[in-house]
């Protein structure tokens, strides 16, 4: 993660001026921090899998071991990642509209600043569910998950967090337990359910 955020402080400063006319914007960046970040992620994940696969038997072309495919695919991903890093400087992605269709005259695409609050809280909400669902059971776990998720949105009031949490607790019981007949723990193991 450190590598990714390292690319972002510069990016955040150019969030605004991306629409500046290139001729007068002398400080306009010519490379894309989005491409750079993508390339780094690819290289890191490719390396992680390639290194991890070394502990498995390689085998031969005739009889491949469990490590053969992950090692080769991991190395291919590394190579592609290096390619994307080069592309960040040579032929960067341009700014894109909603459909992901890029504008050839646009500014190089930026990774932009990560917004920590929504990212951390939404992922924390899912993580909370994963860690407590079997322990606390459906009612408490859903209530907590919904609360955490609500606060991911900046400016959420207490009512805007509590009302959906209460409503969703009842709704998920109605839909999944009564309606769809799923066998879900209502009160978890930690509560003796």
């Amino acid at each position: 993660m450190a590598d990714i955020s390292a690319g972002t402080p510069a990016a955040s400063s150019s969030d605004g001026p991306t629409n500046v006319d290139p001729s007068e914007g002398a400080r306009q960046r010519t490379w894309s921090s989005a491409d750079l970040a993508a390339g780094i992620i690819f290289v890191l994940l490719g390396l992680a899998f390639a290194l991890g696969s070394l502990q498995y038997e390689m085998g031969t072309l005739l009889k491949m071991g469990p490590g053969y495919v992950p090692l080769s695919v991991g190395l291919v991903l590394c190579a592609l990642g290096v390619g994307v890093i080069v592309k960040a400087f040579v032929g960067p992605d341009r700014t894109a509209d909603l459909a992901g269709v890029s504008d050839p005259q646009g500014a190089p695409r930026e990774f932009g600043r990560l917004q920590w609050r929504p990212t951390v809280l939404v992922l924390a909400a899912v993580l909370f569910f994963a860690l407590t669902f079997e322990g606390l059971g459906l009612f408490l776990s859903v209530f907590g998950t919904s609360l955490l998720a609500s606060y991911a949105r900046p400016g959420t009031t207490a009512v805007q967090a509590l009302a959906p949490a209460a409503g969703l607790t009842v709704a998920s019981w109605l839909i999944f337990v009564l309606g769809l007949q799923q066998r879900l723990p209502l009160l978890g193991e930690w509560l003796g359910g």
Binding site: A37, G100, V101, A130
Partner: protein, 502 residues
């Protein structure tokens, strides 16, 4: 004559009251969930999939799943048109012109055109499947491991050539997807790979966690970034029915879209996504008034919607003939069928004629029910979109968690959402399309299996892929597709097709 008998068998199966009811229920539920902002067909099917696990008849399960799929597709288009928030890249194209129409107060026209061209395309594609499935099955029976490997490669490469964005990044996303799919027990040696000794990970990450993480969570995070995206509701819809002129102008684009979509849908690998982009580009090229595109061109709604739906339907062909899921949704449907004890592959059409033809007939019925259900309900869907975002997104998070957990009663499926949500979010921010990753993840295990088997059969000679004629042809086509995608001049032209409207 055979075709006629088969269709009769299919219709009698599909018209059984129980199957008809579950088809209707599937279409209704699929639309209801698919219309939620940020939830596309893949996530919808992922969430509603567990409903069918308890069914005793596989044909009922697949008919309902197909209904959910069509419903979700249509629901996604509704959201794309009304609030410019496509749940999946296939409906992103519909949003381009559909939302402009909605802003001009012609939302009713756009929604009706979308529904009608989908229905027309669905009808044609149903017939296409009925005609094409048996001969294609005959071809499929000739396929060895090498050919299967090459057809998967071709599908993956074509998805790069026609998708939007940088081909290099799309290729890297596919490779990353393949890599992530190696987590779990290796089918040949039974070695647990990358599981950190956790037995619950032996089966690998579930596809549903990947889909929900990539599309659901990442989409929520993206919307929280741009508050102006969420909750922007279009004013009242005036008049539902399109005028005679609008209908007349939709016929040709819808026809072209149907043909394009039916062909692309057969390819394993993102056919329905490519179909809508391809159709939009085509319509813009043949239009007498290309400047209109991006400012509310009817053809920009009718063509892609028809292509999208036709491809959604013909993407059942590789599943039914090769046992090969063409996209994420098909992978889930395949999973559900395997759970029901159905062995997928070229023999399924002989072994389970009732299942195959019942499904084909129910596709048409499903599309018909979709139009019947949705045209009167458009007013209600719009109300549903007025649910504020602060209610909507905790609901999406909670439902996604429960949905993933209930697949196997396994907490690691939910943890998978966190992992893939984070990876997906970062990569989407970095300008990578999530669809190729998903395709690589779905097709990766097949690729590895076919590769290893083909090499065992050829005694370790990798030239087997080039010396067998069908395999060599398929790989040659893949190479051509790759060259087209990468060639800068052609690429620039392709970008201009999309970008010149501004």
């Amino acid at each position: 004559m055979d075709l006629f008998d088969n269709l009769i068998l299919g219709l009698t199966t599909a018209f059984q009251l129980k199957n008809l009811l579950f088809c209707l229920l599937g279409v209704a539920l699929g639309t209801a969930v698919g219309v939620l902002p940020g939830i596309g067909p893949t996530a919808t099917v992922a969430m509603l999939l567990p409903i069918t696990f308890g069914f005793d008849e596989p044909v009922t399960a697949i008919i309902m799943l197909a209904g959910i799929y069509y419903g979700a597709q249509y629901g996604g288009s509704t959201t794309a048109i009304l609030i410019n928030l496509p749940g999946e890249s296939s409906s992103a194209v519909t949003a381009l012109d559909g939302h402009q129409l909605a802003r001009q107060g012609k939302a009713g026209t756009a929604l009706a055109i979308a529904a009608l061209s989908s229905f027309a395309a669905g009808t044609v594609a149903t017939v296409a499947i009925a005609v094409a499935a048996p001969p294609l099955t005959a071809v499929a029976l000739k396929f060895g491991q090498a050919e299967l490997f090459s057809v998967v490669v071709l599908g993956l490469i074509v998805s790069i050539a026609l998708a939007s964005g940088s081909p290099l990044k799309a290729l890297a996303m596919i490779v990353l997807g393949i890599l992530l799919s190696t987590v779990g027990r290796d089918g040949f040696t039974n070695t647990a790979r990358f599981t950190f000794g956790i037995p619950d990970l032996d089966a690998g990450f579930n596809f549903v966690s990947v889909a929900v993480g990539l599309f659901g969570v990442a989409e929520i995070l993206r919307n929280l970034h741009d508050p102006q995206h969420s909750g922007r509701i279009v004013g009242a819809i005036k008049g539902l029915w399109p005028g005679r002129e609008d209908l007349r102008r939709s016929v040709a684009p819808a026809t072209r879209g149907t043909v394009l979509g039916s062909i692309l849908g057969v390819l394993p690998g993102g056919g329905h996504v490519l179909a809508s982009f391809g159709s939009y580009a085509l319509e813009k090229k043949v239009s007498r008034n290309p400047k209109e595109f991006g400012h509310g061109a009817i053809a920009g709604v009718a063509g892609p919607e028809a292509a999208n739906n036709a491809a959604a339907q013909t993407s059942f062909i590789p599943l039914l003939t090769l046992g090969l899921p063409a996209n994420g949704v098909m992978a889930m449907i395949a999973g559900a069928l395997i759970l029901q004890g159905i062995a997928l592959g070229p023999s399924v059409i002989q072994d389970e004629p009732e299942l195959v033809w019942g499904l084909i007939a129910s596709m048409w019925i499903g599309n018909f029910l979709l139009v019947l259900l949705n045209l009167p309900l458009i007013g209600m869907w719009v109300k549903m979109l007025q649910v504020p975002y602060w209610v909507l997104f905790p609901a999406i998070v909670v439902f996604a968690c429960i949905g993933c957990y209930s697949i196997r009663g396994n907490i690691y499926e939910v943890l998978g959402i966190v992992v893939f949500g984070l990876i997906g979010y970062l990569l989407i921010r970095a300008g990578c399309e999530p669809v190729p990753l998903l395709l690589g993840f779905v097709l990766g295990p097949f690729l590895e299996e076919y590769l290893r088997r083909a090499l065992i059969i050829s005694r370790g000679d990798p030239m087997t892929f080039l010396t067998r004629p069908i395999s060599a042809t398929l790989l040659g086509l893949a190479l051509v597709a790759l060259v087209i995608a990468v060639l800068p001049t052609i690429r620039r032209k392709r970008e201009v097709v999309f970008a010149e409207e501004e």
